[in-house]
Subunit: 346 residues, 2 copies
Amino acid sequence: MSLNEVRKDYILDRWVVIASQRKRRPTDFVKAKEVKKPSICPFCPGNERTTPPAVLVYLKANGEIVKDKDQDGLRHRDWLVRCVSNLYPAFTPPTGGGVKVGEAGNFESMEAVGHHEVLVESPDHDEHPGAARVSQLVHVLNAYQDRFESLSSNAYVRYVSIFRNHGLDAGASLSHAHTQIIATPSVPRIIREELDESREFWNEKGKCVFCDVIEKEVESPRLIWEDESFVAFAPWASVHPFEFWIFPRRHQSTILDMTSEEVHRLAVTFRACFGGLRRLLEDPSYNFGFHMASDQRYHWHLEVYPRLAIWAGFEKSTGMFINVVPPEEASSSLREAVQKEEKELA
Amino acid sequence: MSLNEVRKDYILDRWVVIASQRKRRPTDFVKAKEVKKPSICPFCPGNERTTPPAVLVYLKANGEIVKDKDQDGLRHRDWLVRCVSNLYPAFTPPTGGGVKVGEAGNFESMEAVGHHEVLVESPDHDEHPGAARVSQLVHVLNAYQDRFESLSSNAYVRYVSIFRNHGLDAGASLSHAHTQIIATPSVPRIIREELDESREFWNEKGKCVFCDVIEKEVESPRLIWEDESFVAFAPWASVHPFEFWIFPRRHQSTILDMTSEEVHRLAVTFRACFGGLRRLLEDPSYNFGFHMASDQRYHWHLEVYPRLAIWAGFEKSTGMFINVVPPEEASSSLREAVQKEEKELA
């Protein structure tokens, strides 16, 4: 299997994986207009053989959580969460051999060295992330931590992106709750820019720029949720209607810095916020992505982007955005929905 | 009418117009899932009163094209192209009075001063941009030039973005062919980055970076179309499947530098390329955007983004992209479709 190629724009700092392993012909796109339903769900228990072997499973044994992975020919059953390689990975581990990439000397590219995994969030096909058991969400968050730690330890990995696509409009082709994890050989642009600014702010003012933002936003009309460990708010310059961000109150650079009590609190926060989002907008499609950096001056957080509007020609060609829902109004209705959700949970 | 606000992200160089004039409630987004068809098309002749007055119309009088605009109460009929203010403008002209913006002192924002217009490309509701008469496309391109020149002349305008959203998936709510024009009070990020790199390249090497790119790409497998004045190719680092860019061969910084013969050639190029796109992918949704700068070191071009894949959690949270169609394969099938289109036209 040859590696994919990551190409750089002629002049912009914009990189794209040319994922030729997943060959698509023009006719595939025309057909794709019709919604296809797979006859079996590859993420449901019993269908483990339809996916690559698990790189991580959580199993329950004598009331304890045991972590394991699949052996080549064998597949674990009775798992609580299950993480496998993506069947069509955008990034793949180094093969060791020399790999020919691109048209030498013309334009810039590098090998798409890394990992691309799918984390199945529940054995129950119908356990919706906005209505999941908090105990299950704790497993999911623990598995994020495990995979983040494991993937980050590879010398060729410079960033680990953990993201969820929920719903058709958000690019999810399967409805069984899952998260994707991509480990890349470079730090992506948005994270690098955030990190540069965080470092500069820290070096100049001796504190974290995001701690400063949190301090202001918990006092603003944009606040949606807070408890002793986490806050959620609609960001000042939301680029999506009903966008919200979740931050740990404590200054932490990655999710590995959380205590187990904080993991539990984050599961409760997820349940309340994604439950509220589902309630308010009738289960909208959304994407979320963790932002993390192994630098003490960075503050990790989660950004959630509901897919209610389309980035069109203006956004795509200029990099400037139009949002028709002021974050102050988004937060007001989200706050109310999250409170209702919380009341029902209690 | 108060001005919208353009807000800057806490730390990123990312700006968003908070377009509160077009108030949308959560229920509007839930309802929006059902496709609505307006009973009358506001862009069709006879319905001129359903839009704001035209800022530009082309009329035919004694075989000549006459340019005019609507007076307050009156509306022109029998137009060839018609440009009006957007009913829900993201940017609006300065009001003269002081306008309160944002929460002073907390985070960064500015007034959304500018213009937001819609250019109706044909009086014929069914004149599809991929099947239009070349003579009509010449009117459209001339109107782009006129509006670009007029809007650019305002002291408060720093950039004029001309873009088309074609099809539902590209954010077009109306099927009658139209282009949008947005004049902004700052140069948007993508253009600014391109301009910075163009200037640097020019200052270092004494030539245009895009002229250099064109020279390489016309010799590459990514070439789609060329004539004496224009070239179209799938860019090396395409971020969308079947993306293509159109460049004038002559070094020109904006569309105002075209001769009338070049405008005619661009109309032919549009007809061939958008006809080919329509033919190959069964009329896909797409966005296009002109990239221009009033700087002799910049080379204007048009970028076309078919909407066949979804930017999901990875793209949105990292700014890195995955494209499942290598540009070399996209160009091969597009080239063939464009050639067929050309043959039928000839």
